[in-house]
């Protein structure tokens, strides 16, 4: 039983990170139809910038804030320099642009920083907390709590503010959004900036547990994308559920079956699900176009 809770907690922790990456995918996809494969690089930037700024003597919270700011700036630049000029291009072109951007960002990180793995100190120490016999790192609660706060903030923003509703309106019908006076370019920039911030926060929260390096973004983008597909591309709650589920699949797969094949195992389950339910577990949020 203790083993079960051990796997559960580690699955939820890593799943929360996948969920945040998937949420970033979803936000950008909804606002602009772009599948942004540079999403993982925001996570990398969050961790790496925090590590290096903190190493320069800046207090951790401030270093984290700087890292989020850097990621947001990169997200906005990605939008203004690479996505916006290619507006109207086919989806495949835009995907290739984001893949190109992720390669560029990884290369830049490798040159600016280094190729080593780096760690951040846990936010509230390393003494494990006993939960039903499982030894849980305190940082896990930071990750889960942080993810919950982000999901909640995003929910309040989208459902309770006019600007948030403008984002939803842009996702639902771009032509109509422009006709009521929503500046859809601003909304898309907002989505890129917001996604970058979410990714960076995920990177900062998880680095004390998983370490970070210039190239952590690649696999995270894949996992986040898989999670978003699993939940149903375009559905924010589906993204969160898909992320958590993917984390749990990996943790239990690694724990009970084989840790060598944990990535493959998770992807096989996803392929099976998508084969049976091409819309993902929660489908795309129903968008009526009459």
């Amino acid at each position: 039983m203790a083993e079960f809770f051990q796997f559960l907690m580690s699955g939820l922790t890593v799943g929360a990170v996948y969920a945040l990456v998937a949420l970033g995918f979803t936000l950008i996809y909804n606002a602009s139809d772009v599948v942004n494969f540079a999403q993982g690089e925001f996570v990398m930037l969050g961790g790496m910038v925090t590590v290096f700024v903190a190493a320069a003597g800046v207090p951790l919270p401030l270093a984290a804030l700087i890292a989020v700011t850097v990621a947001v700036a990169v997200g906005l630049l990605l939008y203004w320099l690479a996505i916006e000029p290619a507006r109207g291009a086919p989806a495949v072109t835009l995907i290739i642009i984001t893949i190109g951007a992720s390669i560029l960002l990884r290369g830049a990180a490798q040159m600016l920083f280094d190729k080593q793995f780096h760690k951040l100190p846990s936010f509230s120490g390393d003494a494990p907390i006993n939960l039903f016999g499982a030894a849980v790192q305190p940082q896990s609660f930071w990750v889960l709590g942080g993810a919950a706060v982000i999901v909640l903030l995003l929910y309040v923003f989208l459902e309770r503010t006019v600007l948030g509703k403008a984002v939803l309106a842009t996702a639902a019908n771009r032509l109509a959004a422009r006709l009521v006076g929503i500046n859809t370019t601003t909304v898309m920039a907002l989505a890129f900036g917001g996604s970058a911030a979410i990714g960076a926060v995920a990177g900062i929260l998880i680095t004390p547990i998983t370490l970070t390096s210039y190239d952590v973004g690649t696999l995270l983008a894949l996992k986040g994308f898989a999670a978003a597909m699993l939940g149903g591309m375009g559905n924010p709650l589906g993204a969160v559920a898909g992320g958590l589920l993917l984390g749990l699949l990996e943790a239990f797969g690694a724990g009970y079956l084989s840790s060598t094949y944990k990535d493959a195992f998770a992807f096989i389950v996803i392929l099976v699900v998508l084969f049976a339910m091409p819309q993902g577990l929660f489908g795309r949020r129903v968008v009526e176009r009459v």
């Binding site: 309106a169 639902a172 006076g181």
Partner: protein
């Protein structure tokens, strides 16, 4: 009084194309303060393209658009909405996953005044069914209700000029009458309307003047009553034989 003062909208020699295919080939027209102007023409004539160009969501290759005396053809769509030109587009285009109330609120997206609530009440008074369904998602409404919502959403922008693209399309005769009555009421309240319709009889029936658009050019214009009795219009657009 300056000439521009009488005109809400002046379009001159407007050209627009999809790729290489020209759709608007030098359209000129004007809409004066307080008028309802009907723009009729067969399917594919370019009516929707013209309204989209006016709202700024369809690029133009040349020509001028003046709104309330000022050039607006270089302004982005939201600046045109801000100046008081709103549109209920063809096919309604409501925000399907959002509630009726949110659709209306977004119609007032560019407004910063404090009368948004009152205007929403006015829309509800005009179309009581929208009040009943205010918390339901717009995608679940019937076609007629979605048309009312699209019209209400455009009104929430507090327009000085309202562009309507085929508001009667696909509606039952009773609903068509209800929409037409609403347009007449809007005119009475001082809103200027440019009404695009394939249903020429209905449109000319409530309009002051009309234009006939044929393959991207204005083929005919005149008082609505004159157009209604014009033999060419009758033959081509009024279904008379």
């Amino acid at each position: 009084m300056a000439r521009g003062g009488l005109h809400v909208l002046e379009v001159s020699n407007l050209h627009s194309a999809y790729g290489r295919i020209g759709v608007l080939k030098g359209v000129s027209l004007e809409v004066r303060t307080g008028e309802v102007v009907a723009l009729i023409g067969s399917n594919g004539a370019g009516k929707t393209t013209l309204l989209r160009a006016l709202s700024g969501v369809q690029p133009i290759s040349s020509g001028e658009i003046r709104f309330l005396g000022a050039r607006i053809d270089r302004l982005p769509p939201h600046r045109r909405v801000e100046r008081g030109m709103t549109q209920a587009p063809e096919g309604r285009q409501v925000f399907g996953p959002l509630s009726v109330e949110d659709n209306l609120r977004l119609g007032a997206y560019m407004r910063r005044d404090g009368e948004i609530e009152q205007d929403r009440e006015r829309v509800f008074a005009m179309f009581p069914v929208l009040r009943e369904k205010r918390h339901l998602v717009a995608g679940g409404l019937s076609g007629g209700q979605q048309q009312m919502l699209a019209l209400g959403r455009a009104l929430m922008g507090k327009p000085k000029l309202l562009l309507l693209d085929e508001p009667s399309l696909g509606l039952s005769p009773i609903l068509v009458d209800q929409i037409l009555a609403a347009i007449v009421a809007l005119k009475a309240s001082g809103i200027t309307v440019l009404l695009v319709e394939q249903n020429a009889t209905a449109a000319l029936g409530i309009a002051d003047r009309g234009y006939v658009l044929e393959t991207g050019r204005i083929a005919l214009t005149g008082a609505a009553a004159a157009l209604l009795s014009d033999p060419k219009v009758k033959a081509a657009y009024l279904g008379a034989d």
